[in-house]
Amino acid sequence: MSVEKYLKPAVINQIKRLDLRAQFVVKGFLHGLHASPFHGFSVEFSEHRKYSPGDDLKDIDWQVYAKTDKYYVKKFESETNITGYLVMDLSQSMGYTYQQELTKFDYGVCLAAALAYLMISQQDPVGLVTFNDKIRESLPPRSKRTQLGHVLSLLSRLKPQGLTDFAHSLGQLSSMLKNRSLVMIFSDLLIDESSLITALHRLRHRGHDVILFHILDEAEVSFPFHGVCEMLDPETNEELKIDADGHRADYLAQIKEYRDNLARQCRDSGIDYVRLDTSMQFDAALIEYLHSRRARG
């Protein structure tokens, strides 16, 4: 079986260890890249570069030489200058899924782990920030191998709870970041749109690159409900009795409008907006990251 299967949330769910999950996701992703028209792209952004005179011979990757008869040396951290921050929404709503293998939070964690893995592999410093109504925990960015363990360890301990105050949390984050960084936000963004945009603009104004991973549950995108349902908002505990069939079209139009509007606003502000749902493979998110990485590398 191809390793690409690991890009599927249903498959990755069977792997309990987060480090392995991240590893499998990234491997599957990279394997897919090799086989795809993005081959060159992947090489360019791989962890190797061609040997050039003056390089230390101990840095030559003999395994690659064995495969390709060409000399490649491993890159050095000093060659990149991308400091990544994985910003994870911890709010209660992130813990939701209707009938998928992974909740939005699990999906986001998995994705964050994969990105962390990828970044650490490329010796990019990566940090982790979690928030709900405020910043809850933060792990300063490092590029050492051990950093991956720390990141994954923290991620695996997280539990979604509480309300979201996106604007406040992002305001705190903005003041935390000293250098120009790549901020990768994982959230379902079920918040007031104007405050969200304002917060993102503020971040962007500080010179940070932002990738907004908008993670929704597959049910939130397709609205697969029928009949009379009483819907409960896990954060506010608000209840609403609806006729799901009658509501579907309206709801889908609303959610599409929201995402489209968000995408447009982000594009206008130079923010990468990635719309995801928990049924999607992880590569979409990773490609987006790589695009951003290339643009800055």
Binding site: L190, G227, E230, D243, D245, D250, Y251, I255
Partner: protein, 800 residues
Amino acid sequence: MIWANGMILGLGGLLIAIPIILHFLMQPKPKKLVFPALRFLKERQHSSRSRLRLRHWLLLLLRCLLIGLLVLALAGPTVASREYGNWLTLGGIGFSGLLVGIVLLAAWFRSNRNWVLIGILVALFLGHLGYGGWAATQLLGTESGEILGDGQAPVAALIVIDISPRMQYRLENQTRLEVAQEISLWLISQFPLESQVCVLATDHDRAFFSVDVAAASRRVETLETTFVENPIPAALSDGLTLLEKAPQERKEIYIVSDLTKQSWVGDNTKPVLRRLEKNPEISLFVIDVGVEQPINFALAALELSSAEISEKGEFTISTQVNRIGGAAQRTLKLSLEKPDSTRPIVRDGVTIFPDQLLAEQTKTVDVRENSSVTESFKFSQPLPVGTYHGRIEIEGQDGLAVDNERYFTVRVRSAWKILAVHPVNVSPRNLISTIAPMVNRELGSSQYDCTVLSQAEFLVEEKLGGYDAVFLLNPEPLTEPIWQRLTEYVNQGGGLGIFLGSNAAQGGLADPSFQSPAAQQLLTGRLDQQWFTDQRDLFLSPQDTSHPLYKSFRQIETGVPWNRFPIFLHWGIEPDDRATELPTQALLSFSNREPAIIERRIGNGRVLVMLTPISERAVEPGRRIWNELFIGKFLPAWLLVRAMTAYLVQDDVESLNITVGQVASFDNDLRQFPESYQLFQPRSDKPPTVLNAAANSLKYRFTEYPGQYRLKGVWSGSPLLRGFSVNLPASSTDLTRVEPAELDGVLGPERYQLAKQRDEIQRQQGTARVGQEFYGLLMLMMFVVFAVEYLMSNRFYAGR
């Protein structure tokens, strides 16, 4: 609407409560779901809730409808009217089709079309269109003869049988009545067991249900034609009252008639129409036993020049021979019966009438196709005083025999004695030439024997009792005793005519002698003042012409040129207050609404006071004339004075020749006639009855048969014969068929079913009795509603 299982309706109706109870008490609990993106739902919350509620109600409605339709189908509704049934069918199909159409549209516009479902729905929709089209063609008039369901439930039936004289029309050796009886008997034999039957004839019979079917049959068998018919609408009205109260669910009316116009005309047919409309569950059949194109000879009513003549008088009888059908020749025969003092007599229970003839005349008439010929017979032979009966008949066979014979009675009597009193300055000529023209007097045939006295002579005349009537022509003042004598004369039964004029005035005002109490009693009030106009705009103006005084005017009523005979002067009367004690009424008015002729009854006699004279005194220079009543060619006053004279002498000649159902009324002065009579009806099988005089008159109401009615009494030890003739009105043998529109007007268009043959009756009876059933339609509708409910609830509660 008729229900085969009416009980189910009540019980089933309660079942409809089940979905309602379930709806309110056992509303399905919604599925609880956690859903973080709730805010996107909230924006449409209101419209969604309304939609949700609407769906709930719609579903409830569909479920109630489902049970309702099931209950209806089981209750077995039928309607008596095919048209009504077709409309209901069309309505049901329309409703069902609409539901299918809506579901089809909903299925079509769904994002994920289910082609199998759409195919089924399209097929269903087309099926509805086809069924609807069929029902529409049914409405356009095609009739199905199929007998549906069970028609054996007991019925309450009313059989109205037309027994008018026209039903005696004979064709193929059967009268219409015999055909009607045959069909009615067959109908009765067809009724389901335990049915209640009322046989109602059109002879003012009372409607009642026969004890059993056999009794109803016997009633039919004994029916005879009547000559005093009750129009069918009136009979139907009585029958409907009975039928409305009947407990049976199925009610039927059969009208067996020859459909001649006369049977269907009525004064007021609207109430019947309204009641038939109000009771649509009553099936109505009209069974036509008539003949589309009858062939018949008929004698119209006889016209006698006079039914009362003097001994030397003569009379002429004319009549019209009417022909329906092709040209033909017939012999018309007049026969005059010779009075026989020994007859009629009853022997062995049978009345034997006089059989000898005094005279017989025949005439041959040729009548062209559908036309008439008038013929007359003249009889000038001197006859002794007495009552003479005769008849005119068309000889030979005919479709309707009853109108081939007409009867007449002529009375020969001594002339009425009239006394005309006139002042010397007033001529009695107008009166005498009016009531006893010279020509009659010369022939000795005058009805009135006039004695003329001047007022001075009259004052000494003492034998007023010998006169049948006395006229005072423009009288001069009379003394109180004379007024009293006149009052006494009237009281005894005499007739007094007073024509007031210029002689009643003294210096322009009424002479006091005309204002004395005795004068006022005769003049009906106080002579008041004279009314004058010289504009020729005042004339006699009859208001109510129902009084016998107007008999001669009735035929020419609208053409009488009253306004060509102006009145310039007339007296006014201030009525006294004795009108209740002495019946008083104004019979004729002037055009200024003042009374012109006033009648007062005193004792057995009558007084007529005319407030303008018919005889003026000689015209003097400077004196105004009172009127021009006797100036001109056609003189209404001439007819009026003759009528006044006949009225004053209490001539009962009108009752000598009457039509069936009329009351015969005769003067019976006990000084001249016996008090009691034996009355013999025209039918020999009817025993004579006793008729007693009351208040100097004889009255007989039961003139049910055409023919001669004979009165036999004893006066001064010898038999005294009187009598009268009764004929059918010409209209009662008019065979003109009723128009369909007229029939519709009586029964309501499309309200009844017309049949002629037994199989037609049977078919229509079957259809109407079971009516149009809706079981199939209701089941179809139920299926459609069930399918819609299923689809809707499936979609509604999907994923539960």
